[in-house]
Amino acid sequence: MSLTLGKPRGRAAHSAPPVRWRGRRVQGWLYAMPTAVIVAVLFIAPLILVVWMSLNKWPLLGQATFNAPGNYAKIPSNPLFYDAVLFTLKYTAITTVLLSAVALGLALLVQERRPGVGFFRTAFFLPGAVGFAAAALLFYGMLNNDFGPIDPMLRAIGVIDEPIKWIGTPNMALFSTIALVLWRFAGFNMLILLTGLQAIPTEVYEAARSDGANRWQVFTKITLPLLRPTLALMLILSVTGSLLAFDQFFIFTNGGPDNSTTTMVMVVYRDAFFRFDLGGAAALSVVLLVALVGLNTLMMRRLR
């Protein structure tokens, strides 16, 4: 019965849908329209134009001239390119591991409702409310060897004798920046993980405990596997954010010392705004975008 009735209805849907259905379809399109327009205007159109830009020699003012694939061909000879790629990957790896560990630790600390836990949740999240550029400036001021308060404080309590060159050597510059990023983002990532932790039904924990699982077993066999989708989201956000790192290095270390903290986006920025090579900068942006999409696809597949 349902089959015989279903067929003509299906055919009818393909050829001429009832007016009510067509109305609903139009309605659906209308609902989606604002988002579609925003995506088209603010993402797809600029994307197409950046790709077009990358195929041209593009002066600041005046007419562009087609020169494909010149802008792409010269990327390998960019003196900063390889170092920037290596540094960006290194920074991404270290930041992602540390950020995940710290955020997960904080989330586990404050996941249960106890007296005073709200205070700690707020305290951990609060740095996330500071603008990133402002946070970078704050660290620049705090750690500055000329006027920053951290060195004199450490000296006063006898921890150090000589001022520490927080951004004076490549390694110190990297780790000072990572400290900044951890301070700024650990709370936000904790919040993401907290929502995941709280979505795990308490019955599962109770069942595990009644089966005699210890804390470690509960963590590795229950918490981590059930947290996987949330962890995946956090990882993707962290990896994407780190590969596109700019503000913290631009403000805090200025890419130095000796170009040791120059990231990919800083190279793009330099090509566009110091060398005025807009086509070359666009080509680098496209390469970065493709790498980012590829990496994220890979991560989504592995973490699904």
């Binding site: 200025n254 010392p257 000796d258 793009v268």
Partner: protein, 424 residues
């Protein structure tokens, strides 16, 4: 349509690079009206903010047309100009570091002012180095806005305390090193006072303060076309070696190696430095009770020279208010503005015919600085900014290796500098 597309594409690039420039300072271009006064927009960099502000204030108080000035941090100025140009959002008038002017002119950022400038009665008296760099294919694009010369300042009080003659500044770079070392040895024990200081992680600081010693010794840093770097030659190496010695002996402040530029002139006015290269524009902003000696920058064994820096000013090629813009910038180089605004505040003048005026005679240091305009140089290179000023550029690597690192790498890095200068 094509232009609009270009603008959108540029915004797209901005989004992709996540440029942390903050919100724009406004490049709004008002349409001129037939009757009412016009407000024109102007941008300048923080390094020469004081001079621009004084000129704008004086102009606004005496004219119907008004100038709205936006000051942009020096380090961000070039990127901001580039971003604004790409989006067709340049202000009506903008000042630019004179060494960037050839590049901006070749990019078409400035309006051709040849006829207007040629009509000025004092055209031949305008600061020659600024005019040279503002000329492209015999067309004139800019006027001198501020002149900022590098000179050595010495702190007379610290000299007295260190047992040096407070009236005798250094006559050679070697003497400079000896005097700085004396101040350091006598007064540097508590870590507050230092013999000297320099911006060791700032490409622009190196060229401004080290190159005059090369010129004073008869050397050159580039070929006249600005396409070949000569910074691996003996004249430059000798200068690097003396500064390296000062750093190694801890005569410079401990943060000289990390100094990125924004604060390099901030230590001298605090009375913490014995002798150091400084921009002449800071003389008017020094504490009034501080006793400061000024002397030309010298080579290792003598001679004198200076880097004639500062800003040029022009009308942007996209301005809709060219007449009002020209009215303002031509006024800034007129007699009144030059003497009553610039000279009154101890600034170097944009016109050689006004160098001795009723104010300059009051301070022999100002007379000295004015006299150096003719002895100094302004290097010309189309790719100056990206080569020498950009923190990721090749010059900063070279200078840092020469002063703090492995001086044997200089020839190889010099080839990188040349490559950057020749970039198409």
């Amino acid at each position: 349509m094509r232009r609009r597309l270009a603008g959108i594409a540029f915004l797209g690039l901005l989004a992709l690079t996540a440029a942390a420039c903050g919100s724009g300072g406004g490049g709004s271009q008002q349409q001129p009206t037939a009757a009412g006064p016009v407000t024109i927009t102007m941008w300048t960099r923080a390094a020469t903010q004081a001079q621009s502000e004084r000129l704008v204030k004086a102009y606004n108080s005496s004219h119907k047309n008004q100038v709205k000035l936006t000051v942009i941090p020096t380090d961000n100025y070039q990127p901001r100009i580039a971003a604004a140009a790409g989006a067709k959002q340049l202000p009506d008038v903008f000042a630019a570091d004179v060494i960037f002017v050839p590049n901006y002119t070749s990019q078409g950022l400035f309006m051709d002012l040849t006829d207007r400038i040629n009509a000025l009665p004092f055209k031949d008296k305008l600061a020659p180095s600024h005019m040279k760099l503002g000329t492209l294919d015999s067309k004139l694009y800019t006027l001198p806005h501020t002149l900022d010369l590098s000179v050595w300042f010495w702190n007379k009080d610290l000299y007295t305390k260190a047992g040096l003659d407070p009236e005798k500044g250094p006559k050679s770079l070697k003497e400079f090193a000896e005097q700085a070392t004396a101040v350091q040895d006598k007064l540097g024990k508590d870590g507050k006072v230092h013999g000297t200081f320099f911006g060791g992680n700032c490409g622009g600081c190196y060229v401004f303060t080290f190159w005059p010693s090369v010129w004073a010794a008869g050397g050159q840093v580039m070929n006249p076309e600005g396409t070949t770097s000569l910074n691996d030659q003996k004249a430059m190496n000798d200068v690097f070696a003396i500064w390296r010695g000062l750093y190694d002996k801890k005569v410079t402040g401990p943060t000289a190696k990390e100094e990125q530029g924004p604060t390099w002139t901030g230590f001298f006015p605090k009375g913490e430095i014995g002798v150091m290269p400084m921009p002449s524009t800071t003389l008017g902003t020094m504490p009034p009770d501080m006793k400061i000696g000024v002397t030309p920058i010298a080579g290792p064994d003598g001679g004198e020279s200076t880097f004639v820096g500062g800003d040029s000013i022009g009308v942007s090629s996209t301005s809709k208010n060219a007449d009002a813009a020209w009215d303002f910038i031509s006024w800034t180089v007129g007699d009144d503005a030059q003497v009553e605004v610039m000279a009154k505040n101890k600034d170097v003048l944009a016109r050689t015919d006004l160098a001795s005026n009723k104010y300059s005679a009051e301070d022999p240091r100002v007379v000295l600085i004015n006299s150096l305009v003719a002895k100094g140089q302004t290097p010309y290179a189309l790719r100056f900014g990206q080569t020498f000023n950009d923190p990721q550029g090749p010059w900063l690597r070279l200078a840092r290796e020469a002063v703090f690192g492995d001086a044997a790498k200089v020839p190889q890095l010099n080839a990188e500098v040349t490559k950057s200068l020749q970039q198409q």
